[in-house]
């Protein structure tokens, strides 16, 4: 049993080493006394690590694989950057198209702001009906929007609400209803 275990440890050594010295190691095992066996096993285990890590030069393969992977990754990245750069140079309209897309996707305030001084206009006061609508929508009331529009249709627009703390002023709210295809909206101050 113990001899087979020792033979197995010898067998695990790199081929060149066990081919050259394996039989001699087993012969020494056979010649050794029982008291020396623990020393032999410890020595065989250390030898196994030493032969694989230091003598077999297998670590060179590990380092080689790591460096190769790094080179491949850097080559891939460089190639991607070079291709993207060539594509941009070969398509002058590319930038213009990208710019146009960006403008289209920008929010209204960002689109108009550069052309109008003082944009966006912040209302002095918000209509209490709009505030109530926001609260109902936030709380998950599904019918709030439809009821709001029905009510607006009944009373007519713009909505007129008395301003807080200003007896002579009113809050005027203009309404415009978009649909599913509406992506942005805005208004111009004339």
């Amino acid at each position: 049993m113990m001899r087979n275990l020792y033979r197995f440890l010898v067998f695990l050594h790199p081929y060149a080493f066990k081919e050259r010295f394996g039989e001699e190691m087993l012969w020494i095992y056979d010649e050794s006394t029982k008291g020396e066996l623990s020393h032999l096993f410890l020595d065989a285990f250390i030898s196994l690590i030493r032969q694989w890590l230091l003598r077999s030069r297998i670590w060179r393969f590990g380092v080689g694989a790591f460096v190769s992977a790094l080179l491949l990754l850097s080559c891939g990245y460089s190639l991607q950057v070079a291709l993207a750069s060539a594509f941009r140079r070969g398509n002058p309209g590319h930038y213009a198209e990208l710019r146009q897309r960006r403008i289209q996707n920008r929010p209204v305030s960002a689109t108009i702001a550069p052309t109008y001084k003082g944009w966006p206009i912040q209302p002095a006061q918000t209509s209490p009906r709009i505030t109530a609508l926001k609260q109902r929508l936030t709380s998950g009331d599904r019918h709030a929007l439809e009821q709001f529009w029905e009510n607006a249709a009944k009373i007519g627009t713009p909505l007129l609400d008395p301003a807080r703390n200003r007896a002579n002023d009113v809050v005027v709210t203009f309404l415009w209803r978009g649909n599913k295809e509406t992506k942005s909206s805005g208004y111009e101050r004339l």
Binding site: R20, M25, W27, I28, A44, S47
Partner: protein
């Protein structure tokens, strides 16, 4: 095999020194080297087969040791003998000289004390 420069091989590792020293008197097989090393160091230094053959392999590659013919045909076929080469003997002598210089320095700088004997 081209021999390495003598200076490149010095100082020898303790294992290599003991192995070369054990082969200085006669050709020995692996187990004989292990026993001789244990005797030289009064049991303080024990070589295992893995360490022994790792060192023997490197000493043979450096041309300090070579495989010798078997002592007799009746020997166990697994038993191989090893011999110190002339170059190995020169390297061993050079390392012994180096050790002598170390010991001279040590004697000069350290007060001489008899090793204490355990009762």
């Amino acid at each position: 095999m081209a021999h390495e420069e003598l200076g490149n091989l010095l100082p020898l590792s303790p294992a290599a020194l003991h192995i070369l020293l054990s082969l200085a008197a006669e050709d020995l097989h692996g187990y004989g080297i292990m026993q001789e090393v244990e005797r030289q160091s009064a049991g303080q230094y024990k070589l295992g087969p893995g360490t022994l053959y790792d060192n023997l392999d490197r000493l043979m590659q450096s041309g300090l040791v070579k495989e010798a013919h078997k002592a007799s045909e009746k020997d166990d076929p697994r038993r191989r003998y090893y011999r110190l080469t002339a170059f190995g003997r020169r390297v061993l002598a050079a390392d012994i000289e180096r050790l002598k210089a170390v010991i001279r320095d040590a004697r000069r700088h350290l007060p001489h004390r008899e090793p204490s004997k355990s009762s």
